[in-house]
């Protein structure tokens, strides 16, 4: 249970069968492709424009699904995301693939309908603006283009400022002596819409007079009285509204095709991935070579499956020494649950062992100490159990749910030891409502009554954690043949820290003198060994001694700060418990029992929800930190590359072998 050993596999097959083989490999998702080296007679397949074509189709399907979600949303439960995807067998998939191109038409229909809606909406906005512009002119009963009769000249336009027929006539009289009849169609503070008539002979004089007042013709004059255009626009708006309604109905009518569209989306994702990967294949014109990494334990089965179906030759070899081999982890449920935490830091590098089996145990324990409330732990266990039973999650999601399940169990364990069930709600209620003193519920002790004790235990847990980390580093060095390094870098530190621990503890508690003196000798032995061995890389004696002293300083300061860092186990544990008790205290302040009960229920629910949420985040973050900074720094290099097989990267269904 750990890092799976990898094999380098080359599959040779006739070109004619390559497509089926490739489809089959993609469904198995066991091989990570690597491009073969350029050899004479072999050249890379060129996929050309096809991948981008598939990408385009996939986008169309994605758009169509998005539009469906907008106009005909599907009702989904809040936790539906936890459920695994529906399964599709390979045969069903192949059968359905034939429909994909036809279904693409549905996608385009939906996208087209949405485009109609967008365009119609834009047109409505434009028409409505135009109608607003026409509103001041609705009182005009001649076309806005009207320029007069044989004898008269008419001018339709706007003037800045607020005029009535009378004030305008007066203003014009001041400019010209020509006779003008004016009508103000509408007027407002900033602008007046006017209609002026005069004799044709005097047109120029009147126009000049109007111009001095700031007259301007209408920019888009109507051929008919404005009312006509106004109504026409109104009808057009109505038409566009109808179009929108029809397009919406069209989209809604296609809503039952959602499953099909989801298939189309995934289908083109698969095709896209495949054609992208095809470029990794070499061909000689009549045969192809597919090469990549496969986990050793899967090689045999894959070869069998391929050989029973196709004409292939499979060559298996060890990956070259300097190859960049991808890392695939496999653990049992208990250790595998924390794989996500390790991945977030880094995948194990070439020389690393898989840290999850050692880490998981400490991860759950530390999580439990920091959350430290059995009530909260119980909620976690129940919540994760519910999610597991109801939705049966798979893959990484299952691992995450499992992790919180185990963390919840650990939390119940520590909470029971510390006697914290939703803080001190049980003794409080017993005392306040029933006048009974139930005493402490703790099976071990309550941290609040003796924080020093828990702090020492936190350091002890820390030392064990770090020693295990150091042990892994010993194993690593020994395995790689660096036996001197393993002994010189690990044993003295064990002696040093084991010796120092009782001396440190004696500052706060009484340590039996026998242990103290044993510790003293261990410390001296460790110190001497560190000074003697830490500088072994230096060539001269002074350098050795100097580096040795430096190593001693590093060991002492590094281990001191590492161990002290575990005091957060106490701090966060106290934090949860005390705040939980504060919530209970606040809820039980009133003196009358009915009021107390009425206040208790909402304060209890709200307060503990908030406290649990905040402390869950804090606990998660600090548990991670203890693994990443304190534990991993002892042995873990990281820097590995995660195994990414040629697979069906689907969003809506899972492909399954027949």
């Amino acid at each position: 249970m750990a890092k799976l050993p990898m094999k380098y596999v080359e599959i040779a097959a006739p070109l004619s069968e390559s497509k089926e083989i490739f489809d089959y490999l993609q469904m198995l998702s066991v091989i990570e492709l690597t491009g073969t080296e350029e050899v004479d007679g072999l050249s890379r397949l060129s996929a050309g424009r096809t991948p981008s074509q598939f990408e385009k189709y996939r986008t169309a399907a994605g758009d169509a699904l998005r539009i469906l979600d907008e106009y005909a949303p599907e009702k989904k439960g809040l936790l539906a995301g936890l459920a695994p995807l529906p399964e599709l067998t390979f045969a069903e998939y192949l059968k359905k693939s034939d429909e994909a191109d036809g279904l693409l038409g549905v996608c385009y229909d939906i996208c087209g309908a949405e485009r109609t809606i967008t365009q119609a909406r834009a047109a409505i906005a434009r028409l409505e603006a135009a109608r607003t512009g026409l509103e001041p002119w609705l009182g005009l009963d001649v076309p806005m283009k009207f320029s007069g009769t044989k004898q008269t000249a008419a001018m339709v336009g706007t003037l800045p400022g607020d005029y009535t027929a009378q004030t305008l006539t007066e203003a014009l009289l001041a400019q010209t002596e020509a006779a003008v009849a004016v009508e103000v169609v509408s007027h407002g503070k900033e602008r007046s819409c006017i209609f002026a008539v005069c004799e044709k002979a005097e047109e120029e004089a009147v126009f000049a007079a109007l111009r001095t007042l700031g007259f301007a013709f209408v920019s888009d004059p109507t051929k008919h009285p404005p009312q006509v255009r106004y109504e026409r626009y109104g009808k057009e708006i109505e038409q566009h509204r109808q179009e929108i309604g029809e397009a919406k109905a069209q989209i809604e009518a296609l809503a039952d095709k959602r499953r099909d569209l989801e298939f189309v989306y995934d289908y083109f994702s698969i095709r896209h991935e495949k054609y992208d990967a095809l470029q990794m294949i070499s061909t000689s014109g009549s045969a192809v070579v597919i090469s990549g990494y496969v986990a050793e334990k899967r090689v045999e089965k894959m070869t069998e499956q391929l050989e029973s179906r196709f004409t292939v030759a499979v060559a298996v070899s060890d990956p070259p020494e300097d190859a960049d081999v991808p890392v695939l982890l496999e653990n049992n449920g208990f250790a595998g649950a924390v794989e996500g935490i390790t991945k977030m830091y880094a995948m194990p590098g070439k020389e690393d062992v898989d840290p999850n089996p050692v880490m998981c145990f400490f991860y759950y324990i530390f999580f439990g100490i920091m959350l430290s409330d059995a009530g909260y732990g119980l909620l976690m266990v129940l919540g994760t159990l519910f999610a597991k039973l109801k939705f049966k999650p798979t893959g990484n999601l299952k691992k995450t749910v499992d992790m919180y399940f185990y963390c919840g169990i650990a939390t119940v364990f520590w909470g029971t030891l510390f006697g914290s069930w939703f803080g001190d709600i049980i003794p409080q209620v017993a005392k306040q409502f029933f006048d009974k003193d139930v005493g402490s519920l703790a099976l071990w002790f309550e941290p609040v009554t003796d924080p020093m004790k828990l702090m020492l235990f936190s350091f002890l847990f820390g030392i064990i954690h770090l020693f295990v980390g150091l042990g892994v580093s010993f194993y690593n060095m020994w395995r790689q043949g660096n036996k001197v390094g393993a002994i010189c870098d690990v044993i003295p530190v064990y002696l040093f820290v084991t010796g120092l621990a009782p001396l440190g503890a004696s500052i706060v508690i009484d340590v039996p003198p026998a242990i103290l003196s044993a510790g003293k000798w261990l410390l001296i032995a460790g110190t001497v060994l560190i000074v003697l061995t830490a500088g072994r890389s230096s060539k001269n004696i002074i350098g050795k001694f100097g580096l040795g002293l430096y190593g001693l300083y590093n060991t002492a300061s590094g281990w001191l700060s590492d161990i002290l860092s575990y005091s957060r186990l106490l701090a966060l544990g106290l934090c949860t418990g005390v705040i939980a008790s504060v919530i209970n205290t606040l809820a039980l302040i009133p003196s009358s029992k009915p009021v107390k009960l009425a206040l208790l229920i909402p304060v209890f629910i709200f307060g503990h929800t908030v406290n649990m949420a905040i402390n869950l985040i804090g606990t998660y973050v600090h548990t991670n930190r203890l693994q990443y900074v304190e534990f991993f720094s002892k042995f873990y290099e990281g820097g590995g590359r995660s195994f990414t097989p040629l697979h069906t990267n689907t969003k809506y269904f899972n492909l399954k072998e027949d």
Binding site: R568, L574, C575, T585, I614, H622, R625, V629
Partner: protein
């Protein structure tokens, strides 16, 4: 003047709650502004940036915790007031200072780190775990301050002065 002990003790508790709270408010505020920016572009990142926003909020909680613990110890909450000497009151005041000052500064700095983390999430959402760890590093010093304040309050209670 015989109540001077209480004055100092309550002043200390109040400062722990207030300064740590101010720090958290600044930190959470900054991170929240950055988070809102990311969510305006991509609402699906809400969950990830929310965690980053909450991180600098714990200091305010720690400050509150110290104040509450202290008030229970000296009987301001729970109503069991006993004589408190000026010396002891001053000691309580001192015990609150790590949380008050450590909380104030670490929350603001954690807020700044969280803002940087929000930027990480904006560009590479898959690396949000690392962004959280960076912000959590700052919190170490708030945890240490909390611890020393708690231990000091408990041990001062045991002194007879």
């Amino acid at each position: 003047m015989q109540n001077l002990g209480y004055v100092f003790a309550i002043l200390g508790g109040a400062l722990a709650a207030a300064l740590a709270g101010v720090g958290s408010a600044i930190g959470v505020g900054r991170a929240g502004r950055a988070a809102a920016g990311v969510v305006s572009e991509d609402p699906s990142k809400f969950g990830k940036v929310l965690i980053l926003q909450i991180l600098p909020g714990t200091q305010g909680l720690y400050g509150f915790l110290i104040a509450f613990l202290l008030f229970v110890q000296i009987g301001v909450i729970g109503g069991d007031l006993q004589a408190l000497s000026t010396a002891k009151g001053l000691m309580y005041f001192g015990a609150c200072m790590p949380m008050a000052i450590g909380g104030l500064v670490s929350a603001i700095q954690q807020g700044n780190t969280a803002v940087a983390g929000v930027n990480v999430v904006a560009k590479r959402p898959e690396e949000s775990g690392k962004a959280i760890i960076f912000a959590a590093m700052v919190e170490t010093y708030a945890v240490i301050a909390l611890l020393i304040s708690i231990l000091a309050i408990f041990s001062i209670t045991g002194l007879s002065l």
